[in-house]
C-alpha cells in the first residue's frame, strides 16, 4: 500500500469515528421524553392529513435520472484530468468524443422538454 493510500485510509477512519461518535453519544446521553403529542408528525399545528403513500409524479423521476446520467459523466473526467499531461493529444480528442456523444443526448433531452419543470 503506497504512502498516499494510508493517508486516505486514516482520513476515512477518523471521519467515521468522529461522525459515528457524535451520533452515538447524542442518542445515549440525550434524555428522551416521548409523549404521544410529540411523536405525531408536525403539520403546522394540525392533525396530519394525506401523507402520500402512492406513487409520486413522473417529473421527479425524470429529473433524477438526468442528473445521475450527467453526474456520472463528470466522474469520468476526474481520472482523465489527473493524467492529462502524459495522455497528450490522443487523450484530448478521445475525451472530446466522449463528451460529444453525451452532448447529443443532452440536446435531445433538452429539445424534448425533459428539463422544463411544468
Amino acid at each position: 500500500m503506497t504512502a498516499e493510500h494510508t493517508g486516505i485510509g486514516v482520513a476515512l477512519v477518523l471521519a467515521g469515528v468522529i461522525a459515528g461518535g457524535m451520533v452515538v453519544l447524542a442518542s445515549i446521553l440525550g434524555k428522551k421524553y416521548p409523549t404521544p403529542g410529540k411523536l405525531a408528525p408536525f403539520e403546522c399545528g394540525n392533525e396530519p392529513i394525506g401523507l402520500p403513500m402512492g406513487q409520486l409524479a413522473v417529473k421527479f423521476y425524470m429529473t433524477a435520472i438526468l442528473f445521475i446520467l450527467f453526474d456520472v459523466e463528470l466522474v469520468f473526467l476526474y481520472p482523465w484530468a489527473v493524467l492529462y499531461r502524459d495522455l497528450g493529444v490522443l487523450g484530448l480528442t478521445e475525451m472530446f468524443i466522449f463528451l460529444g456523444v453525451l452532448l447529443v443526448g443532452f440536446v435531445y433531452a433538452w429539445d424534448n422538454g425533459a428539463l422544463e419543470w411544468k
Partner: protein, 453 residues
C-alpha cells in the same frame, strides 16, 4: 376533495395520487394565521382551500359594548401595520354620521399621519415578501427605515404602533413644534433605503423570475372579487379612494396614482414602491399648504402655571399660589391648549374634549369634560347610519356605523380590504406551483386584524 385522481394527459394509465399538503396556521409563509390545504400534483397546486378566522377577536362585538371614543384603541389593531389610517377612517365615519366639520389644519394633520402610516405598511409588506423569497438584507433595511418613521409617529402620538391618535371631531393633540424638520430627515433616510431596495431587488434575476408572471389576475376578475388598492391598481385600473372620492384635503394636494399593467406580483411590488414615493410627496406638500400652526400659549390673564403643577398645588390647598394663575399646557397634552384647540378640533361642544385651561380653569369646561368622559355620557351621535370609505394601505377601508342615539355604537362594520383580496387567493394559487404561493401570498399583504376582525 378525494385524494386519488388519475393523472390526466399523456400518462393516463400511470395512476399517481395527489398529495394533500396542509400549510397550516403556524407557518412563516402564511404570516401565522392562515391555513391553506393544498392538493398537490407534484409541485402544481390543483386545488387550494383557504381557511381563515384564526385571529378573529370580536372587534365588531367589542365596539358595541364600548362608547364611541372607546372604540379607538380597537381600530388601531385592525390593520396594525398602518394603524393611523384605521383611526382616521373610523373617526371620519362617525363625524359623517354626526355631521361634524373638522377644521382645515386637522384635515392636514390627518393626511400627514395617515400617509406616514401608509409608508410603514408598504415597507413592512415589501420587506416581508422579499424576506420570504430569501432577500433577508432588504427586510433588515426596510425595518430600519420603518424605525425612523415609527420615531416620527411616536413624536406625534406617543406610541409606535397602537397610537389611538384621532378623536371624534379632531385629533388628540397638535403636531409637536417644528415637526417638519425631523420628518424631512426621516424621509431622506427612507428614500435612501428605497433606492437600496430598488438596486437590490428590481433587476435581481432570482427576484424577477419568482415575481414576474406569478399570481396573475385580470382587471375584470380583480373587480369581480372586490379587490381594491395596490392589488387592483397593478392590473391597470386607476381606482384610488383618495382620487375618486376624495376626503379630508386629498383633493387640494396633487399626487399621482401608481398603476401597473400585467397584474402580477412584480407589478404589485413596483406599485407599492412607487406609492411610498407618492406618500412622501403628499406629506411634503401638506406641510407647505398647512394653515398656521399653534402660536405658543401666552395666556392673557394671570401668571402661567403648568397644568400639572396647578393641580398639585390645589391638592395641597395652597390657594394663593393657584389664585390668579392660568394653567399652561404643552401642545401635545390631550385636548391641547386653548389656542391650538380651535385649529385641531371641532367646535361642537358635545363631541370633543375642552382645552385643558377650560377644564382646570372654569366650570363650563369642567362640566363639558365631565359630560364627555363620564361613563354613559360620551359622544352621542343622532340616530342613523353612515358608510365612509378611506384609502387603506391594502385598498378601500370602509366603516359602516349605525347609531341608535345611545352613547354606544349600535353596529360598527369594517370593510377590510384584504378580506376581498383573500377571497381571490385560492383562484390565484391554483395552477401555479407551490413555490409561487409564497410571493403571491406575500404581495396580498394579508393583515390578520383586518381580515378576521
Amino acid at each position: 376533495m378525494d385524494a386519488t385522481t388519475t393523472q390526466a394527459g399523456g400518462s393516463a394509465n400511470l395512476e399517481t395520487r395527489d398529495m394533500m399538503l396542509n400549510i397550516g396556521p403556524a407557518h412563516p409563509a402564511m404570516h401565522g394565521i392562515i391555513r391553506v390545504v393544498a392538493k398537490l400534483d407534484g409541485e402544481q397546486i390543483e386545488a387550494a382551500d383557504v381557511d381563515i378566522g384564526y385571529l378573529h377577536r370580536g372587534f365588531e362585538k367589542m365596539s358595541e359594548n364600548v362608547d364611541f371614543n372607546g372604540v379607538m384603541p380597537y381600530t388601531d389593531r385592525l390593520n396594525y401595520v398602518s394603524p393611523l389610517i384605521n383611526n382616521v377612517g373610523y373617526c371620519m365615519a362617525v363625524e359623517k354620521l354626526i355631521g361634524l366639520q373638522v377644521p382645515e389644519r386637522c384635515h392636514y394633520i390627518r393626511v400627514i399621519v395617515s400617509e406616514i402610516s401608509r409608508i410603514t405598511d408598504h415597507l413592512t409588506c415589501v420587506g416581508a415578501a422579499a424576506m420570504e423569497l430569501g432577500a433577508f438584507t432588504v427586510f433588515l433595511y426596510m425595518i430600519k427605515a420603518r424605525e425612523y418613521l415609527w420615531e416620527l409617529v411616536e413624536k406625534v402620538t406617543g406610541a409606535r404602533l397602537t397610537v389611538s391618535y384621532c378623536r371624534i371631531g379632531g385629533v388628540k393633540a397638535d403636531l409637536p413644534d417644528e415637526f417638519a424638520g425631523p420628518c424631512a430627515e426621516a424621509f431622506k433616510e427612507t428614500r435612501k433605503v428605497i433606492a437600496e431596495a430598488h438596486s437590490l431587488l428590481t433587476r435581481n434575476r432570482i427576484f424577477v423570475d419568482r415575481m414576474e408572471g406569478t399570481g396573475v389576475i385580470s382587471q375584470e376578475d380583480a373587480i369581480a372579487y372586490g379587490i381594491t388598492g395596490p392589488f387592483l391598481r397593478s392590473t391597470g385600473s386607476e381606482y384610488d379612494v383618495r382620487k375618486d372620492c376624495p376626503y379630508a384635503v386629498y383633493d387640494q394636494i396633487d399626487f399621482d396614482v401608481a398603476v401597473g399593467s400585467k397584474g402580477d406580483n412584480m407589478d404589485r411590488y413596483l406599485v407599492r414602491m412607487e406609492e411610498m414615493e407618492q406618500s412622501m410627496r403628499i406629506v411634503e406638500a401638506a406641510f407647505e399648504q398647512m394653515p398656521g400652526g399653534p402660536v405658543l400659549v401666552n395666556p392673557e390673564t394671570g401668571r402661567p402655571i403648568s397644568a400639572s403643577e396647578m393641580v398639585d398645588l390645589a391638592k395641597l390647598g395652597d390657594i394663593d399660589a393657584v389664585a390668579g394663575g392660568c394653567a399652561v399646557t404643552g401642545p401635545t397634552l390631550d385636548g391641547a391648549g386653548r389656542d391650538e384647540h380651535s385649529s385641531i378640533a371641532t367646535d361642537e361642544k358635545r363631541a370633543f374634549l375642552p382645552p385643558k385651561e377650560d377644564t382646570y380653569g372654569n366650570i363650563e369646561g369642567l362640566m363639558r369634560q365631565f359630560k364627555l368622559v363620564m361613563h354613559g355620557h360620551g359622544v352621542r351621535p343622532p340616530v342613523g347610519e353612515a358608510y365612509f370609505p378611506v384609502e387603506g394601505a391594502n385598498g378601500e377601508l370602509g366603516f359602516y356605523v349605525v347609531s341608535d342615539g345611545a352613547g354606544y355604537a349600535y353596529r360598527v362594520r369594517v370593510r377590510g380590504p384584504c378580506f376581498a383580496i383573500m377571497t381571490a387567493l385560492s383562484k390565484l394559487l391554483v395552477g401555479g406551483s407551490l413555490a409561487d404561493m409564497t410571493p403571491t401570498f406575500g404581495s396580498v399583504n394579508m393583515i390578520g386584524g383586518e381580515l378576521d376582525r
